[in-house]
């Protein structure tokens, strides 16, 4: 036990530097990872699918996909994994860290861009760098998927209106025969500027060991 522990701690130290989590947080997340994977070294989509609490979430599929998306590993690769290891799991989680008091303005900007990039990747399912109208429609449909028939009808209208808004704010003057291909990352950043993503998109990573508490598996 002793030798392997120092080995994993050594590995964890690397991860601390890479992802910015603290050692306790990484240890806790590792325990959770083991729990999800059934003590294996990798997680597959089925493992995540079987979390009961996720069942009621309308965007469940997108969330699970995000874990297996290579673009979220910050290594400029495209495509998706079949299974992910602990390091990839942590990388995805690190998108949800909050800023601290010591984060400078530039770091906040970088953080915001990273988080927006994560969201963008979730919407842009074919990895072509733009969110087309169809993709956006799918997003809204999924959001409203738990609301029955009303949801589906309105989803199309809402997506169209949203797209129109993006186009209007970013490219104000278009000729009637010009075509707006899709939302690029810059446009995406522009429209969500007001939401201050770095203060909103985070969860609380506790330093307490939570896996001993009751949670789904």
């Amino acid at each position: 036990m002793g030798a392997s522990q120092t080995h994993s701690e050594h590995k964890f130290q690397d991860l601390v530097d890479k992802t910015g989590f603290s050692l306790e947080q990484i240890i806790n997340l590792h325990k959770r990872f083991k729990q999800l994977s059934g003590n294996e070294d990798t997680i597959s989509r089925e493992n995540l699918d079987s979390i009961p609490a996720l069942a009621t979430n309308p965007i469940r599929k997108q969330i699970i996909e995000a874990f297996f998306d290579k673009r979220n590993q910050r290594q400029d690769e495209v495509g998706s994994f079949h299974e992910i290891g602990f390091e990839q799991f942590l990388m995805v989680m690190s998108h949800f860290r909050p800023p601290t008091l010591k984060t400078t303005e530039e770091e906040r900007e970088v953080m915001r861009r990273e988080k927006l990039r994560f969201l963008f990747n979730m919407h842009d399912t074919d990895s072509d760098g733009t969110i087309t109208l169809d993709e956006y429609r799918k997003v809204v449909e999924e959001l409203l998927s738990k609301s029955g028939a009303i949801g589906l009808e309105a989803a199309k209208a809402i997506a169209d209106a949203a797209m129109l808004e993006v186009a209007s704010t970013n490219v104000p003057h278009m000729e009637p025969d010009e075509f707006y291909e899709g939302i690029t990352f810059e446009h995406f950043e522009q429209i969500l500027k007001g939401l201050e993503m770095e203060s909103r998109m985070h969860i609380r990573f506790l330093d307490v060991n939570t896996t001993t508490m009751h949670c789904g598996k």
Partner: protein
């Protein structure tokens, strides 16, 4: 030279206008003073003021010879009370009006300061006449003046930031107020024990009582001040939320110390009972408010046939919540807030658009009047009240208040930041500390003190602290905010993209929490939402609205708003160059058949929008008809030249009218009431009069444009079957039949129309 003279005459014109206003106002002041003095002198027999006329009929004894039939008689007694009340309110409102005419003044000095100053003036005048000025009566204050302000604040409370920061707010409200009370009380007592200050008679409990009164941050003052500085949402909700929630603490402490001040000793059991009392008071207040709120929501489910009384339900249930809580000495303010918060989402889904507007306007109006009256009366009471000025006591109070507030905020933030994810920076801490104003609640509580030997001194000190915080801190906070470059409130309205992504984020974060395996903030919020959707909404919302997801209601509201703005802006014809020319064609993939390129909305909504357009097209028509006759005198040569331009504009206008989704120009409605704001989501006290006043009358361009389109309608030129032009055509036909109508607005739609659609237009 001529210009100079011209401009100076304009300026002197303005100056003379101002003078006239001031003169009129002074006249009114004298009238108020006279009536007040009449009031007092009727009670106590003082020698009659020679300026007043005595009516012989009033004092006439029965004489034996026949009187002539009185053609004109004078009976002031009959209407005295309502007359005086109305006079005071009128005076207050005229003052408010006056300040906004003088622009430079209202930029430098916050309104609350000016109102107190006016109160001082009025009080001074009344005293100079030789009469006793009226004092801010505590019953009047707590039962009539305070509830509208709190209801307004509670009903439009922005829920999301409030719940996100609830922990912080509670810590500031409870622990902060307790710290303030005990620190100030304790230090005062310590100083009073020092020989030579002449304050030896003040015992510990009195000091603590005084500390309890002076420690609470006042919601009225905070609201009045923060409204003018447009600070960012987080700071606003922190200070404001604290001022609301500390009421429970204040109530408990006040009653506790007042009881014990009579008895003289405090035991541990009493302290324990005090803690229990605190929980009872706060939770009980919230419970009472929640019950009334649910009752109100439930009632509003059935009001579809009697729309006119809907606003009354909201007001009365809330007021009853407040009064019921006061009966049991629970926290009335928390009850009122709980009632408003509880009621609002369900009531808004049930009531009509007009009721919604009525509620909003009435709440703003009442709270505005209340606030004005409170500040003026504060000024008058200052002049009136018996004062006992003790340099040490007063100066010490002011300093201690300031110091304890600073220490309290800094200390608490240090602890809170360990638990907060988004930490509070030093600048924000400073603003929170500096924004802790004291106000009329402290004064009224002090006034209620029965133990009179210290009362005068306490009152003087309280008034001084109030003046200090309102004047000094109120005036300097705006430049400080600018100096420290604190983030201001973001002005933009919610867009559909932001709403989509807010919802998306909620679900995403809940999902990530689930993957991580711990039940955090988002998990519980999600559970609450699902419970709400599954059970509560079914009971409290009428009809199909109960199953409408939030995103859809938001989208519908947004569309309505844009439709209203688009049409009520008089003419979409005036197209500024900044307006986007993007339309649906630019987004739809080319391959799609040009079937129905206009996004659909549900039938009910469509009907409402159609009615709106109809009503407003009518209005525009009526207005413009008068101009069109005028226009016939335009130079025909000019007409020809602009033909081409107008045709182009007309095409664009129709395209706009055909779908309701364009981003409207920066024109917005500018209602005359200062605090009203047409946006969504409880941005209640947002922009104060900075909205560009939008010109109501259309320019001649628009005139000829619509004339053009009416001509077009006559010709029935073949256009592609788009919804907008069709709508316009049929309406124009109808309108031409009504040519002989008068030129004013057609008047509001009868309420019978509203019944058909259960929707509402915000």
């Amino acid at each position: 030279m001529a210009e100079l003279l011209g401009s100076s005459s304009v300026r002197s014109g303005r100056a003379s206008f101002c003078l006239r206003v001031v003169g009129f106002v002074l006249l009114l002041v004298f009238a108020a003073a006279a009536s007040a003095s009449r009031d007092i002198s009727n009670g106590t027999s003082k020698e009659p003021n020679p300026a007043r006329e005595e009516d012989p009929h009033h004092r006439s004894n029965t004489t034996h010879h026949k009187k002539a039939f009185p053609v004109l008689s004078f009976n002031y007694e009959h209407v005295r009370t309502p007359f005086e009340i109305s006079l005071w309110i009128l005076l207050a409102l005229l003052m408010k009006l006056g300040f906004h005419i003088i622009p430079r003044l209202s930029h430098v000095v916050p309104e609350s300061c000016l109102l107190i100053f006016v109160g001082l003036l009025v009080g001074g005048i009344i005293k100079a006449i030789g009469e006793k000025p009226p004092i801010l009566d505590s019953t009047l204050f707590f039962l009539y003046l305070l509830p509208p302000i709190i209801l307004d604040a509670g009903y439009f409370l922005p829920i999301r930031p409030f719940t996100e920061n609830l922990g912080t707010i509670l810590v500031f409200a409870v622990v902060g107020t307790l710290w303030n009370a005990f620190f100030i009380g304790g230090m005062m007592y310590a100083v009073c024990q020092i020989e030579g200050t002449g304050l030896g008679g003040v015992d510990l409990l009195s000091c603590l009582l005084f500390g309890a009164i002076i420690s609470a941050v006042d919601p009225v003052a905070v609201l009045a001040m923060f409204e003018e500085i447009h600070i960012n949402e987080l700071l606003h909700i922190l200070v404001f939320g604290e001022s609301l929630l500390n009421d429970a603490v204040t109530v408990v402490l006040y009653h506790l110390f007042e009881e014990f001040a009579h008895i003289g000793t405090v035991t541990v059991a009493d302290a324990f009972l005090g803690v229990v009392c605190f929980f009872v008071v706060s939770l009980g207040g919230i419970l009472v408010g929640a019950i009334y709120g649910i009752l109100g929501a439930f009632t509003s489910r059935f009001t579809s046939h009697t729309r006119v009384i809907e606003p009354l339900f909201v007001f009365l249930y809330s007021y009853m919540a407040y009064l019921s809580a006061e009966v049991f000495h629970l926290s009335g303010i928390m009850s009122l807030i709980a009632c408003g918060v509880m009621m609002r989402p369900y009531v808004e889904a049930n009531i009509s658009h007009k009721s919604y507007t009525t509620i909003k306007y009435f709440l703003k109006m009442w709270s505005s009047v209340s606030e004005t009256l409170i500040f003026i009366f504060l000024g008058v009471s200052t002049v009136a009240g018996p004062h006992s000025w003790n340099w040490t006591f007063v100066v010490l109070t002011v300093i201690l208040c300031f110091v304890s507030r600073m220490l309290g905020v800094v200390g608490l933030t240090y602890i809170i930041n360990k638990f907060r994810i988004v930490k509070l920076t030093k600048k924000e801490q400073f603003i929170v500390a500096y924004g802790g104003l004291r106000g009329a609640i402290a004064f009224s509580l002090g006034f209620l003190l029965t133990n009179d030997k210290m009362k005068d001194m306490f009152l003087t000190a309280i008034i001084t602290v109030i003046f200090f915080t309102v004047f000094v801190q109120g005036m300097t906070i705006k430049p400080l905010v600018d100096l420290l470059a604190v983030k201001k409130k973001k002005e933009s309205k919610r867009s559909i993209n932001e709403e989509i992504h807010t919802q998306f984020l909620d679900h995403l974060l809940t999902g990530i929490e689930d993957v991580c395996g711990h039940y955090g903030h988002h998990h519980w919020k999600d559970k609450l939402n699902r419970f709400n959707k599954a059970y509560v909404k079914k009971w409290l919302i009428a009809g199909e609205r109960s199953t409408e997801p939030q995103l859809i209601s938001f989208y519908n509201k947004l569309e309505m708003k844009q439709a209203i703005m688009l049409v009520e802006s008089g003419s979409a014809a005036k197209l500024p160059s900044t307006l986007s020319s993007v339309s649906m064609q630019n987004i739809q993939p080319r391959a799609q058949p040009r079937g129905r390129i206009i996004p659909r909305i549900s039938k009910g909504r469509e009907e409402e929008i159609r009615k709106l357009l109809r009503a407003n097209l009518q209005k525009t028509r009526q207005r413009l008809r008068s101009y069109s006759r005028h226009d016939l005198m335009i130079d025909p040569f000019e007409d020809n030249m602009s033909e081409v331009r107008f045709r182009k504009q007309r095409v664009e206008m129709e395209r706009r009218m055909s779908h309701y989704l364009t981003v409207p120009a920066n024109r917005q409605e500018a209602p005359p009431v200062r605090k009203v704001y047409l946006a969504d989501d409880g941005d209640s006290r947002a922009v104060s009069g900075r909205r560009a006043t939008q010109p109501n009358l259309s320019s001649p361009d628009a005139v000829s444009l619509l004339d053009e389109s009416s001509q077009r309608a006559n010709q029935r030129s073949p256009d592609p079957p788009r919804r907008g032009p069709e709508l316009q055509e049929s309406q124009e036909e109808q309108d031409q039949l009504k040519l002989s109508r008068c030129l004013s607005d057609p008047g509001p739609n009868k309420d019978g129309d509203e019944d058909k659609n259960k929707g509402f237009i915000p």
